[in-house]
Symmetry: C2
Subunit: 460 residues, 2 copies
């Protein structure tokens, strides 16, 4: 796979914090993003889909801009206009992924370096998850344009369709198709969770976003993929760091457990005669937490469901719950799953006359290691901007489009802190300063990467 060796060759071993003066390759000192413009643009575009007011100020809302709803179509049209104003070409592939491309100095037809993320949100989402990554990328291109700065190779932006998987239930959907991990027919055929008459493909057609370009690295190749994102967790603020240099993403596996018992009257059925699936599920959830804790892993249950006719005085007939196991090492994910299932076997016969259960794996996302050169370019930017005391290497806890792009092109991510680690929530918040810092880091990392690439290719 093509990729400059940023860490070992491009950056001087003794590079100090002042990257812009000590690195071989540097952005012009004037190349500084416009923090105010970034902030205004971010929030102005959030008027499309603003929802879930939590405060009195105009912008004290969350977002409900679900994939390919009318607001998502509006922000897409706006985005298309803005990148074309900058002189970018715009391509749309068969999944509605939008590729904005700014020509580099070299006039090379080689793949562009992409800054990508997504404009869709959760139904009760916030204003930063995904959106910041696209708006930061736009701010980077605007900054370059107004400074008459041209990268060597082409550089651009990707807006990935349906990252959240909230309306059409497959997360990181279109980067997954692009990477070859999700068959396009399956993705096209995803149904609106509230209206099975509507498919992702029918919504692409309705809004004019069913492009001709094959959704693949062959259809639209990328030289690299950089993504700025909010951390969505408490680690950066807890460690008083401003920039996270994301080396990879932890593996995760989602299971659904279905526990079958037998409905019975709570007043007339002795404990020893019961097949109580809710009691068993409760013990299973508690056990999975204990097992994960022992291994330094995560195990979480977000959903538990009893039948719709459940009542206070009836033992449920069946209970279903989800189990989300995560760890940066796939081997540990496997171990936690195995130990959980062993524990569940014991629990199933522990109370009364026992229960039966079955389980399915709904999602299995192996751990990902990002590209060391992309990481090095971000580290150089972070060192320049805040120094190693205020940045840190970290592993993403959540999935992102970069997890899929990393299968096909050099990829890494930049995290910035978000308040209290809260995301997927209307009150999700990052400060204007942190958004600006992350955007400046994105710009500098991309410039680094571009210059390293040119150097490696002996074109400069």
């Amino acid at each position: 796979m093509y990729g400059p060796k940023c860490a070992t060759r491009t950056l001087r071993p003794n590079a100090t914090r002042s990257f812009s003066t000590t690195s071989r390759f540097q952005a012009p000192s004037s190349l500084s993003i416009n923090a105010g413009r970034l902030w205004e643009t971010l929030h102005k575009t959030c008027e499309w889909g603003a929802s879930h007011r939590y405060g009195e100020n105009t912008r004290d809302t969350g977002m409900a801009r679900l994939t390919l709803n009318d607001d998502d179509a509006r922000v897409r049209r706006w985005f298309a206009d803005e990148v074309q104003k900058l002189g970018c070409s715009l391509s749309v592939d068969q999944m509605g992924n939008m590729f904005a491309r700014q020509s580099g100095k070299l006039g090379s037809s080689a793949p562009m370096i992409a800054m990508g993320s997504h404009l869709d949100t959760q139904p009760r989402g916030g204003r930063y998850d995904g959106i910041l990554g696209v708006m930061a990328a736009l701010e980077v291109l605007r900054t370059m344009k107004e400074n008459n700065f041209q990268t060597m190779f082409d550089v651009g932006i990707v807006n990935w369709t349906n990252e959240e998987g909230a309306r059409f239930p497959k997360s990181m959907c279109s980067s997954g198709v692009w990477a070859g991990a999700i068959p396009i027919e399956k993705a096209w055929n995803l149904r609106d969770i509230h209206n099975p008459d509507v498919s992702l493909k029918s919504e692409l057609e309705r809004h004019g976003y069913l492009g001709d370009i094959e959704c693949s690295p062959k259809g639209y190749p990328l030289a690299a993929h950089f993504e700025l994102h909010i951390e969505q967790g408490p680690i950066l603020p807890a460690n008083e760091r401003k920039i996270g240099i994301v080396q990879g993403a932890q593996g995760y596996r989602w299971l659904t457990l279905t526990v079958q018992g037998k409905d019975a009257h709570t007043g007339t059925t002795p404990l020893e005669n019961r097949h109580d699936p809710l009691l068993a599920a409760s013990r299973m959830i508690a056990a999975s937490n204990d097992i994960a804790k022992k291994h330094g892993a995560l195990a979480s249950t977000g959903i538990i469901r009893v039948p719709s006719n459940a009542s206070t005085n009836t033992i449920a007939s069946e209970v279903a719950f989800t189990l989300d196991i995560r760890h940066p090492d796939d081997h540990v994910v496997n171990t936690v799953q195995d130990e959980c299932l062993n524990a569940f076997d014991s629990i199933a016969s522990q109370d009364g006359k026992g229960v039966s259960y079955n389980w399915t794996i709904d999602t299995d996302s192996p751990a990902v290691k990002f590209d060391k050169n992309c990481i090095a370019c971000i580290k150089a930017a972070a060192d320049h901007l805040v120094g190693p005391e205020k940045s840190m290497l970290m592993t993403s806890g959540a999935g992102h489009d970069s997890v899929y792009t990393s299968q096909q092109c050099p990829t890494a991510m930049i995290f910035i802190p978000c308040k209290d680690g809260v995301s997927h929530h209307p009150t999700e918040y990052s400060t204007p300063e942190d958004c600006a810092l992350g955007t400046q880091a994105l710009l500098e990392a991309v410039v680094h990467y571009d210059q390293s690439r040119a150097y490696e290719g002996n074109v400069i």
Copy 2:
């Protein structure tokens, strides 16, 4: 409170199994209920509300005859016709309770001896719970009529409105109003759980069942209340008994626990940073079972709810669950509740950054002891019919209209076995033989009671 002393004076101390020949008071030997007619009537009337087919035979269905729906109105009209054909007077009170009354030999205006239960069902209920009690009472009156047998005092049937509390959420609703335990305005104002525009009162009016008679022992006094019911549990079959002589009902208390946490991303939030209400609720449910087991009590959770926007990769913000605690001794119910709340306090701070919780008592039904003379009359009937080896004294695990009537008049219940102890389920089943045996026991108990009452009152 008025009541004959059936056990100590009416029955000879040396009464043997052959009650009909050894008791001072006896039904004529020809007074035997018609098992076939009972069975046919029971299932014919179940055509109104039949639902939830589980087998191929016509009657292989459960019931969905919710209080005052159109099918409930149909069976009420049918019931009114049938009792009037027998020469009964029919009265309807302000809660739609139906009182059918057959005159006794004495022509006394004293309160009638009632056989009562209910014709409404759960939404996924069966063909026996409640329905059997009313149809058995009708069969008793039919048997008396065709044998030209008259009790001394008036005897009759009560069809209590909304025993299940499934459509209008208050169980044993109208016997509760009658007993003075539930204010009538509150009962009238209960809303259909699926349609808040419809109240219990508006449905009484729609079907012409909003009677003039005050719903109280003053409005319609009862001398006694006998109720035949399926056991709804496994104790009779487990002990190979055919008739349960129900001495009372266990106390029960229903709580709703609401556990508040904080929604957070499962992938990005370390275990030690979480406020996870579903994990805490799971530990609470498991703990409540352990505590109840220690005390020989019952503790059950039938309902658990996460927010509607719950997802696999989000820690829930709040979880609510029900807790149903039961024991024949109120003191034990209190102890179990206290120990559960103590355990919940510890659990609330056990994991991560902890959770908070609050609790409400939704229903508190103290333990009930039924009338010893009514019990003695049922015991005499059971001894006569199956002998002490095939009957047993027991405590009702469930609530019944008799729990409320016992607050105002001498009351006891007869249980018969139901298959696998299953009730509140379409497959609920009792054999024709057991239904007939219970009905015969009801007849004989009522005749006993009537004759004892007349003897006590020196009218025979």
